[in-house]
Symmetry: C2
Subunit: 326 residues, 2 copies
Amino acid sequence: MAVTIRDVAKAAGVHVSTVSRTFSAPNLVNAATRERVLAAAQRLDYRPNRAASALTTGRTHNLGLIVADIANPFFPPLIKAAQAYAREREYHVFVADTDEDPQAEEELIQTLAKQVDGVVLVAPRLTNLAIERLGMDLPFVVVNRRVKGLSAVLMDIGHGTEEAVEHLAGLGHRRMMLIGGPRASWSSEQMSRSGVAAAARLGVEMTVTGPNSPTEQGGVEASAAVLESGATAVIAYNDLVAIGVIEGLNDRGVDVPGAVSVVGVDDTVTGRLNRPKLTTIVMPTPAAGRTAVDLLLQAVAGGRTAAQATLETSLTVRDSTGPAPD
Amino acid sequence: MAVTIRDVAKAAGVHVSTVSRTFSAPNLVNAATRERVLAAAQRLDYRPNRAASALTTGRTHNLGLIVADIANPFFPPLIKAAQAYAREREYHVFVADTDEDPQAEEELIQTLAKQVDGVVLVAPRLTNLAIERLGMDLPFVVVNRRVKGLSAVLMDIGHGTEEAVEHLAGLGHRRMMLIGGPRASWSSEQMSRSGVAAAARLGVEMTVTGPNSPTEQGGVEASAAVLESGATAVIAYNDLVAIGVIEGLNDRGVDVPGAVSVVGVDDTVTGRLNRPKLTTIVMPTPAAGRTAVDLLLQAVAGGRTAAQATLETSLTVRDSTGPAPD
DNA sequence: CCTTCGACGGCAAGCGGTTGCGGAACTCTC
DNA sequence: GAGAGTTCCGCAACCGCTTGCCGTCGAAGG
């Protein structure tokens, strides 16, 4: 059917092993022969069959990328970057969506295992224990989570949160509220911790609410708590929540940023296009995707190293924050 | 290393071929032996190596899904649905992003070719000719494009556009404008055609502008033309453009939907969360993803059939359209 | 009791590459 | 000009699984 290494060998008048070597270990073959082989390969439009070589080498040149929900606007930039970066390194990537289901996640990993050299797990829903167990068999990199023995890339929301608090304090806000995300969210915890610390340092008041659904609806619901608290500035778990908060406040006749300032997190398209344009803590999702692939390839090549990368976040000021009302 | 068919065979006291058959052709093996094999497989946690079987059967149980830009909010729901649907059928999917580069697209297809049973091309940037040529070697399904000899799934924007025109006419609008997308866009053409026809039928005026960049910026730029034309209703190429138009109009002191009504296309999250919430022509992207995979699997199984599926679009009315001003 | 026939399962040759081993041909050295 | 080293390449086994072919065995038929 397709042209194989044997066809090339015949055409070039050499043994298949020579053809194989000209591709995988060119220095082992004489320059002249190499030319001949390459010419023949070119002529026949030969392309090595990765699956076949995987069989003997154990390297598939494929990666898995598992996310909770492809349609959540937080993920696509990460997927895009990871995939592009992998491709530059001659790796293809399976993208899979678990629909937030740990069961599906585990199954997916197991069926994927034989076909990939490693897996990137973004914000996994599995327990640490389960991940550790799976990690015995296959290199993993987790994003925004810490699992013993595995490489991780963490987006340090702490720094961005501090910047946000400083920004708001600088605008004269004295009572702030932080709207947390889902119960088990690592970044939600990080945010709370740094937000509270920064507020204390600056001598402003900070209350934390939550858990909340990480959606617009969650934001709408949380807006009541904002009003009750008397806060004039809000840092929301993500852009969607921030938009929900703004919507909820507007519905109650409260202007943003006139009466209350709102800060989001993630810097999604949706936030950028919102009216008012969202002031937001930018998550370096493309960098996270690239870094994850990078660490994964290192782990694949270098054996059991559990590296860690921490990426900084920072505040981008747009129109949803303004001076505190008098 | 990993547990293979041989380990299972040894454990069950049978030949490897028997093990193979209990998985790929269970009816050829006696129920009792089958039980024994399955028990052994279970005990050893055996999982067949797809890559290895692909080598002999020619079926990889993998699919490719190639899109122009993963980060464009139009694609993720399609990717998500395609991937989920494929997985139910025991297929994994490689997702790749061409970054709108035809060159990259072709290369991608070629390197992927050996590892997949077929490819879904969403809004490809390659020429029809190139696609046809590639289609000789590998089953393809194209989405929102028609290529001779290949299966296609088309989202018929025509119906939704008619609905939009009727909706606007019903609100009393008499001068409308249709803001087209990129030059070579199939759906942009469809829109124009049906929009103009519907307008003629209803006896209202319809002007078409374009080409425009399919982005917010493109919308902002087009907003000038809207004002000049004196149109009181606009149908934009997609939600992003619609948002841009609204922004451009607002910046010029024109209220939406007070003075001008705006309709988008796609029904993205971003449009749903916009203020005002976008009236939009809903593109059935999840269904398109599923259907594409469906047709692809048919083509993979059944040989060279070039089926076509047309999916309907329809209007969802929200807050960006209203009665024509007096 | 012998033939015929299914059903079952073992045998072995691949699928398309990779790779350790060893031999042939050269180059060097003394 | 023989021995030692190198370089290059062919040989063949193997990776994990599939599948056409054939032998065995028990049951059915005569």
